[in-house]
């Protein structure tokens, strides 16, 4: 039982929470960071973005080694040591979370371990291993994050897990069902299929990664025809847990007639905010029915001295959005007149191939009735893609037709995520097709496909047939 008084308390130490705490500390404020996990970093570092990338790296090397056979290099069958893979993944996580602990100390940010809940407008009680800590604060930043959605009709069974369970890598099931064709489901599906599982993906909508454009995802589907059994426009209506497996009944377009047996099921149908779990209403903060906390463009809640950031304030639930919101919230608390004012927030599926998009999609541009034009550069015309034997990729740019400015872009292909930054910068800076087309991109790179797509729009492309070329009489 102890009492702490502080200027700023941050509830949750995910990417948003620790960034807010560190930024506030760097701006000269006393900061207490409350975290229920033993380590800092939240879902992203502990059971999300980072460990999944460690496993996806493993998957990629396995797949690449296999693919080499057709180019004259044959490796033996991989020997999978799950304990060692898991150990390596954990070492990655530990390195990063350990780094955060060190940085918190260096910044003199006090961390309190336990689940923090509001008890009044200026107090938070943290239930920890050593009892309750009461924190009295001047200002608070709620960064309570989100958790996987669980479906009511799915039974409690150790063979059914969410992304956290999937990352534990207990075994490699023979038959695995991924429920939900979004980014998380496909990433984990990729890992398990590389390790040897037969993976089926069931998606209620008619498209995997529904937020991305259809033509972009089509490239992904074609490439992964053999990897996954994909069931679109199909839903799971019942799961029966039997001793020899989980029997799943489907309904919809691609539904098998009979229930299908799986060894494991990954439920990856989305994430739900934790707004209702911190007793925010006791501080007077309004929480919506769905658990979101509404904020203004300075991340301020309806209560003047309480801010909220990250997943808990709304979509997209992405670490990089939370970090930027965190900086704004901390800066506003320290007296700066800053606003969260991005033109775009990038999204990336670290699948194989990667699917990355930023700004408006073609569908959104259409829905908004914009005067836009799409230009695509297929990687079949890219020397670097051909040399890497990965020509399935495509770079797609979306322009405002009135002024040629970039309003969106999508890349599907290997390393797509690493290339997306240029498009985001272009959108933020208001660059137009000519600006990017005239920027000399190194050759041969996959990245030059962005410049070449702009040349397609400009009508100056020479690496493809030019639809805008002058017609000879």
């Amino acid at each position: 039982m102890s009492d702490i008084k502080t200027q700023v308390v941050v509830l949750g130490a995910g990417p948003g929470g620790y960034s807010a705490a560190f930024r506030a500390a760097d701006l000269g404020l006393d900061v207490v960071l409350v975290e229920s996990r033993a380590t800092l970093g939240g879902v992203c570092l502990n059971v999300g973005c980072i460990p999944s990338k460690a496993l996806l790296h493993v998957a990629k090397v396995i797949d690449d080694a296999k693919a080499m056979a057709s180019h004259g290099v044959t490796f033996g069958e991989p020997q999978i040591d799950l304990d060692k893979i898991r150990g390596w993944k954990e070492s990655v996580v530990n390195q990063l979370t350990g780094g955060l602990t060190g940085m918190a100390k260096a910044r003199k940010v006090t961390t309190v371990n336990g689940y923090g809940k509001f008890t009044g407008s200026n107090t938070i009680a943290v239930e920890g291993a050593d009892g309750t800590t009461t924190i009295t604060f001047d200002q608070a930043i709620v960064a309570a994050g989100s958790e996987p959605v669980s479906l009511p009709f799915i039974p409690e069974d150790p063979r059914i897990f969410d992304s956290t369970g999937a990352l534990e890598l207990a075994d490699v099931p023979g038959e695995m069902l991924v429920l939900g064709g979004g980014i998380i489901g496909l990433e984990m599906g990729t890992v398990y299929s590389a390790l040897g599982s037969n993976v089926s993906v069931v998606e209620f909508l008619d498209q995997l990664v529904p937020a991305a454009d259809k033509d972009v995802v089509r490239v992904y589907n074609t490439f992964n025809k053999k990897r996954f059994n994909i069931m679109l426009s199909t839903k799971v209506v019942a799961v029966e847990a039997k001793e020899d497996g989980l029997y799943v009944t489907f309904e919809g377009k691609k539904a098998p007639a009979e229930p299908v047996r799986y060894d494991k099921i990954l439920v990856a149908v989305g994430r739900t905010p934790n707004g209702k779990k911190v007793d925010a209403e006791k501080a007077g903060v309004t929480v919506t029915d769905r658990g979101f906390i509404e904020v203004d463009s300075q991340l301020r809640t309806n209560v003047n001295h309480i801010f909220a950031i990250g997943d808990v304030v709304g979509q997209p639930m992405l670490a990089h959005k939370a970090v930027h919101e965190a900086h704004v919230a901390a800066e506003v608390i320290s007296g700066m007149k800053h606003f969260f004012d991005p033109k775009c927030i990038p999204s990336i599926a670290y699948t194989d191939p990667e699917i990355a998009w930023v700004g408006l999609t073609e569908r959104e541009a259409k829905e908004q009735g914009l005067n836009f034009e799409v230009a695509k550069f297929p990687w079949a015309a890219s020397g670097r893609a051909i040399a890497s034997a990965r020509t399935e990729g495509m770079t797609k740019m979306i322009f405002d037709k009135d002024n040629g400015r970039v309003i969106g872009g999508a890349i599907v292909g290997i390393n797509a995520g690493e290339m997306l930054g240029e498009i985001g910068l272009a959108i933020e800076m208001g660059a137009d097709a000519e600006d990017i087309g005239l920027t000399i991109h190194a050759h041969p790179t996959l990245n030059e496909s962005i410049g070449l797509a702009c040349e397609v729009f400009e009508g100056s492309i020479t690496d493809l047939p030019n639809a805008k070329a002058k017609k000879k009489k």
Binding site: K337, H338, K343, E428, M429, G430
Partner: protein
């Protein structure tokens, strides 16, 4: 080489009207704006002015005829094509003093007079009625409409005020989103409005290329004379202060990088109002800084902000609060809009400018005799204009400014330079029911007595009707405040910054003046010259006053 132009009936705001008088005959020479015919509608009668100078070669209507917008009234022979061009140009320019904001008027005949279609640039594509709604006014609450600034039929430019609304913090004008003609005003004084409320219906025409000039070299070119309600022939060369908002178009999305947007938000700058000077009109940090600097340099539109608390670094105690009701019955009335705007300006000028007032008397016996004589003669010639004493004072002042250029200057904001002006625009303080306004007469040194008299009449009428536009009140070099019509012997006017001097005029009086042998009855006009002592020395001011008085006592000096 004379061009024959058809002169047509402009927009007369209704259906067919009856010709009740012909003001010209074949062979008459007319000047631009001279009346050609008088028409009468069910509401009012009005004169149709000539679009240009020339000779009447044919009159195509007779008394009693019904005419429509577009009907040909007379054929006008314009002296030469060069002149035709000149007369055509004002027709293009008149309804739209600012070329980038053409008004609707020129397009109207297109609708109704198909036979004359060729008279118009084909690029005038049509007319559209648009709804003008209350934009984001910084509050979600309802606000009071305290003044409706336009009436149906008014021509408005983009950014012209339509209504004035009052919030608990400030009053502000809601500007027009586009140039056009007011068709219908939906709101009235006292209404409550909020963002999105419909203010009025505006008739807007697509006249992007309206500046394509009607051909003037071809014989028989048809030209219509759209009669603008505003002043005709506002000198386009008149310097109007640059406003960064002027070139912004609402449709453009903001074009700037994240760091610039951040700076803008810190200062609360509406980026759609900032003009970008970067490549492809990108808004740079410097543009935001310039905008903020400009906005800060503008006086705030609330009197309250400056009347208490002692702004400008003055360490003043607050006004004592007095409960007047203790002493008798009282009533509270609001300051007028003009008072609210001019009050802080006057206060700033009064406290920041070291004023000195020089008094002088001018002998106007002769000029008054001359003036009355001319007005008598004018009456016989049926001139539509009367010369007032003020016009002579304006001419004398313009002449004096030429002789003493330091009076025609402004202090540079760096405090180290004077801005010397090569033009002579004179502001005339006009007392209106709503408060004091100062319309500006441009290029006084270049205009004759009659021109100035007419212009002054028009400006005064506009001032009294509250129709003055911002540009009518900008660019003055020195101001005349004449209280001569009321009375008084002298007063100390406040310099109208950034001008450096102001001339007060009081009531003239016959006084005995010693001519060396005897006292003579002379009509003496008291002059009060207030000046900024930072710029003008006392000796110079005295010389200026004497020089001015000298001209007034013998106006032959005006032509020296």
């Amino acid at each position: 080489m004379a061009d024959i132009q058809d002169v047509q009936v402009p927009d007369v705001g209704g259906d067919a009207v009856e010709v009740i008088e012909l003001c010209v005959a074949v062979g008459d020479t007319v000047a631009q704006e001279d009346s050609l015919i008088t028409v009468e509608s069910d509401k009012a009668s009005m004169d149709i002015p000539s679009p240009g100078a020339g000779t009447i070669t044919e009159i195509t209507v007779a008394i009693g005829d019904k005419v429509n917008e577009g009907s040909v009234i007379v054929k006008l022979a314009v002296e030469a094509s060069a002149e035709a061009e000149q007369s055509a140009a004002p027709q293009q320019a008149a309804p739209a003093p600012e070329p980038q904001a053409p008004e609707k008027a020129p397009a109207q005949p297109v609708e109704q007079s198909t036979s004359d279609l060729e008279a118009f640039p084909p690029s005038v594509v049509g007319v559209e009625i648009v709804e003008v709604r209350v934009p984001d006014i910084g509050t979600e609450d309802e606000v009071d409409v305290i003044e409706v600034l336009v009436r149906p039929g008014d021509n408005v430019l983009q950014e012209d005020g339509l209504i004035t609304v009052e919030t608990d913090k400030a009053t502000m004008d809601v500007p027009s989103s586009a140039p056009g003609v007011v068709k219908e005003v939906i709101v009235k004084n006292g209404d409550k409005v909020k963002q999105g409320s419909l203010i009025l219906m505006l008739e807007v025409c697509h006249t992007e290329e309206v500046n394509v000039v009607v051909p003037t070299t071809t014989i028989d070119t048809k030209v219509v004379a759209p009669k603008a309600k505003g002043p005709v022939g506002v000198p386009s060369e008149a310097p109007v202060p640059f406003h960064p908002m002027a070139r912004a178009t609402a449709r453009d999305t903001v074009y700037s990088s994240p760091s610039v947007r951040r700076v803008a938000r810190e200062f609360g700058v509406d980026m759609t109002k900032v003009t970008g000077t970067g490549r492809k009109k990108r808004i740079l940090k410097e543009d935001v800084q310039a905008y903020v600097k400009y906005e800060l340099s503008r006086p705030k539109a609330t009197a309250a902000a400056n009347t208490s608390g002692g702004g400008g670094g003055l360490q003043l105690i607050a006004q004592p609060k007095v409960d007047f009701a203790k002493f008798g019955e009282i009533e509270q009335t609001p300051l007028t809009r003009i008072q609210k705007i001019s009050g802080p300006n006057l206060h700033r000028n009064w406290v920041t400018i070291p004023h000195v007032t020089q008094f002088e008397e001018a002998d106007i016996t002769d000029v008054e005799a001359f003036r009355k004589e001319q007005n008598e003669a004018g009456k016989k010639q049926k001139l539509d204009v009367k010369i007032t004493p003020l016009v002579f004072i304006m001419k004398a002042l313009a002449k004096s400014l030429e002789a003493f250029p330091v009076f025609n200057s402004s202090l540079h904001e760096d405090g180290e330079h004077l801005v010397m002006k090569k033009y002579i625009h004179i502001g005339i303080a006009v007392d209106t029911p709503k408060g004091l306004v100062v319309p500006v007469v441009r290029d006084v040194n270049k205009k004759g007595i009659y021109d100035l008299s007419r212009e002054l009449m028009e400006l005064s009428a506009k001032a009294r009707d509250g129709k003055l536009k911002a540009q009518d009140m900008q660019g003055g070099c020195m101001t005349i405040s004449s209280l001569g019509g009321i009375g008084g012997t002298a007063f100390t006017p406040i310099v109208n910054a950034p001008e450096v001097a102001i001339l007060g005029v009081s009531k003239s009086e016959i006084k005995p003046k010693w001519d060396g042998a005897a006292f003579q009855p002379r009509l003496m006009l008291p002059l009060s010259l207030s000046y900024d002592h930072r710029v003008i020395d006392g000796a110079l001011a005295a010389k200026f006053a004497v020089h001015l008085g000298g001209i007034m006592s013998d106006i032959r000096k005006l032509i020296l």
